[in-house]
């Protein structure tokens, strides 16, 4: 284990975080809020240790092994979230550490679950920092770091694949830093377009930026306690729906679509299923709403579409309280908690590709039973998927379920009620935001005890880094086989 390199990267990342805090400082200063000093101290608290670490580890090698990659990414996420609590604590907006840690982790992992019950009283700097944590974490802080570091070579690849969601890393360009730049470029561009479109709908510049950050990162933090329901304008809600949908799409496909190759989008099997799932669940919930409520047809459609896209992409914005719907309808929403966005998107959860592979594999298993000697591979995008990949997906899903059930039991010790525990765990593990019961769409997580909040924060990180990156560190062979 090359600790010098690990510390150097942690140091460099602290500098990146310090720079992000300086941007928030600028916003706070422009808004003339009470939080200017909080940001000044926070950025200093990042920059000083960051600089010291970087200076102390000069001349460290740029080689990063697979195992080091996992450790670095996990450490960086943990440390980023720890330092990210400082503005909340210093500005006394969220004074408790457990609360601040929950809020920060929820920001970086793009969960969007909040402990804040009085959002309207927050200064603008803090609101901006909340949105910025989403935006940085959405495309990945490590990926952002790689765009600035061409020198990493294959070491960068280890970091990239440990952070980016999905099973395989699809390179668009020969070098990993070029790929990272392209993906971030698409991300920045879409964010800008959304800002403009939201302003067009009457949102202020500040709210547009914050919401664009939260949408493109599939985060879910709003600047208003009522979330998107604060803006009843159908235009704004449809724009956000569209961009949530895009953010849940594979960014490689978006890049090719942007270059005029639209056919690639619909040729991609994962995108087709993603589209179908959104369509199917929307139709089901829409018709359910039409039958069971007296909502106007347009609003019922908008609410169901918004909720489905918001949950499947793991954004977690809210326009309607799904818990007020018939239980069968919110059960449908809860099923979507386990879907997630596409691979290579900013969405969390299990990911569409894994779900599709699992479904196909189980279905083919029936045929395999009828034809014991048949060679029946699982195909995806017209290519046979190797059994090793299938076994990886099965292992992932098993881990996911195991973590879900064990964590639900653990959380029930703190919370007591099963609906709330199941909803909170599924929501945090999938990086969604709103859950069930007392952590439903119109409530916050403020009632959960501190220990429960820290526990849920770690679940968010586990989910964001797709289990394996974190879990592998706890396997004995990670430390002994070096």
């Amino acid at each position: 284990m090359n600790y010098k390199t690990i510390f150097r990267i942690v140091g460099l990342m602290l500098l990146v975080e310090g720079a992000a805090l300086l941007i928030s400082l600028l916003i706070a200063w422009l808004a003339g809020g009470s939080d200017v000093m909080a940001f000044a101290w926070s950025s200093l608290a990042c920059l000083v240790p960051g600089l010291l670490l970087v200076m102390a580890t000069r001349k460290s090698s740029m080689m990063i092994s697979r195992t080091e990659g996992f450790l670095i990414v996990t450490l960086v996420w943990l440390i980023f979230s720890l330092f990210g609590t400082l503005p909340y604590i210093f500005s006394r907006t969220i004074p408790g550490f457990a609360d601040a840690f929950f809020e920060t982790m929820s920001g970086f992992t793009t969960t969007g679950a909040s402990v804040v019950d009085n959002l309207e009283t927050f200064p603008k700097g803090i609101l901006f920092w909340r949105a910025l944590t989403h935006w940085l974490g959405g495309m990945g802080i490590i990926v952002l770091f790689l765009t600035m570091m061409p020198a990493f070579g294959i070491g960068g690849m280890q970091l990239y694949s440990a952070e980016v969601p999905g099973m395989t890393v699809e390179k668009i360009s020969p070098r990993i830093y070029q790929t990272a730049r392209i993906v971030w470029g698409v991300y920045v561009l879409l964010t800008l377009v959304e800002v403009v479109l939201l302003m067009f709908g009457g949102m202020s510049l500040f709210d547009s930026v914050c919401h664009a950050f939260a949408t493109m990162a599939t985060g879910g933090f709003s600047t208003k306690q009522a979330s998107i329901a604060f803006w009843p304008s159908p235009y704004i809600q449809y724009v956000i729906t569209l961009f949530m949908f895009l953010a849940g799409t594979n960014f490689t496909l978006l890049y090719f679509a942007g270059r005029g190759k639209f056919s690639r989008l619909f040729r991609d099997e994962e995108f087709r299923y993603y589209f179908l799932f959104v369509l199917g669940f929307t139709i089901l919930i829409f018709s359910g709403l039409l039958i069971s409520t007296k909502l106007p047809a347009e609003q019922a459609f908008r609410d169901s579409l918004f909720t489905v896209v918001s949950v499947i992409t793991t954004t977690g914005f809210v326009t309607a309280d799904y818990l007020m719907w018939r239980p069968v309808l919110y059960m449908l929403v809860f099923i979507l908690f386990f879907f997630g966005g596409s691979t290579g998107s900013t969405g969390g959860g299990v990911k569409i590709m894994r779900i599709v592979l699992l479904l196909k594999n189980s279905y083919y298993e029936l045929r395999r039973i009828i034809h014991p000697s048949g060679v029946i591979p699982v195909k995806f995008n017209k290519h046979a998927i190797e059994p090793r990949v299938i076994s990886n997906v099965l292992a992932f899903f098993m881990f996911y379920l195991m973590v879900f059930f064990v964590s639900t039991v653990i959380l029930m010790i703190f919370v007591g009620d099963m609906d709330t525990s199941m909803g909170a765990v599924a929501s945090c593990l999938g990086n969604i935001g709103p859950g069930l019961g007392s952590v439903g769409p119109v409530f916050t997580y403020s009632a959960v005890p501190d220990a429960g909040k820290v526990f849920l924060s770690l679940l968010m990180m586990l989910g964001r880094l797709e289990l394996f990156t974190v879990l592998v560190i706890f396997s004995p062979s990670f430390w002994t086989d070096q």
């Binding site: 070579g153 294959i154 690849m157 360009s173 020969p174 070098r175 990993i176 070029q178």
Partner: protein, 444 residues
Amino acid sequence: MKVVIAGAGEVGTHLARMLSHENHDIVLMDNDPEKLAQISREVDLMTVTGSAHSFVDLKETGLNKADLFIAVTTSEERNVLACAMASYLGVARTIARINNSEYLQARYREKLKNMGIHEFIYPESLAAKEIVSSVKLTGTRQYFEFSGGKLILMGIKIRGNAPIVNRPLEELGSLLKDIVAVSISRGNENIIPSGKDMILSGDVVYFVTNRSTQQRLFELTGKELFEVKNIMFLGGSRIAQKTIEKLGDNYRIKVIEVNRERCSMIADQFENVLVINGDGRNLDLLQEEGLAKMDAFIATTGSSEVNLLSCHLAKSIGIKRTVAEVENFALINTAENMDIGTIVNKKLIAASYIYRFTLNAEISNVKCLTSSEAEVFEFIAKPGTRIIEKPVRELDFPSEAKLGGIIRGDQGFVASGNMQVQEGDKVVVFTVPSGMKKLEKFFK
């Protein structure tokens, strides 16, 4: 530079690795996703699964924006076809790997160029050339000429009997006039020597010198030259056949080959060769065929291990010149420690040959050394560069690099401290990879 390589075989992957480390953007294509997955875990490159002779798959690699296309799949026909197709799709330059010297003939070159196949690489032929030069020049491990022999690079294994052994280089003074030791390989270590370094017994030292001093260098390194007459080849591989062809009629050659069909093919092809059908691992057979009387022993079977062990054996019974083909990189260092003479690595030779097509304008030639990680570059000194400002002594040259000599007009000069490089000179420089960046500053 953007380079597309078709074929993730041994040459292809080695090239991809080397060029990627030199900061070129590499796209590697092959029809075996397994092979591609393997290399993309180790090297920062993009991979495309597909056939080298499919227009659709070639387009996937972004050929129209690439500067160089290298086809090194196993099949010659496919390489040639792929290069023609790649040219059509807009790549600037193509290189095809071949195993047939017909393509190299001057009268067909123009025609092939019109088809879009610009350069050819024939690894077996290049390897054969190295073997021939090491058989003809018995004192050296590796022999390389710059600008038609105006300067010479020789890799020499130093034994205890060499007069220059165990003395700091700066003390040797006038003994080493017109000779520069540019790189020392000791075990796994690689030293760019300064005046205080010593040459020890067992080192492989690379010297730059000129033709007239060559003889004195052999004396200083305690090498007795001898004439090679009897040569035994173990394995009648393509390299062996090519070597026999290049050696000409002045040698008595025996070839031991296990495959009967190949035996008859070689016997059919060459007049002055005695072909023996048998397993080279069979010691009795080798003894019976007069192994002890051989002047040179060349092992080029498909197995690196067999080549190594048989050369070791040949050395131990007193054969002075042995050449082993070692294709397994991991074995090269071991081979060096085992003391088995010259090592030939087809991939390394091919890769270093292709390497020169990726170089900047200021570099005119390059050579990778088999038993050392150092590389030799022939730079052209351009006007306004730092290298021509001061005499060599005052240049503050990086310690990872060493000046070997310069070629000015028709004459070669071995490097000395007082020398000043002039505009238009060709400068022969040695460097380990880490020195390359610093070195470039002197020539830009």
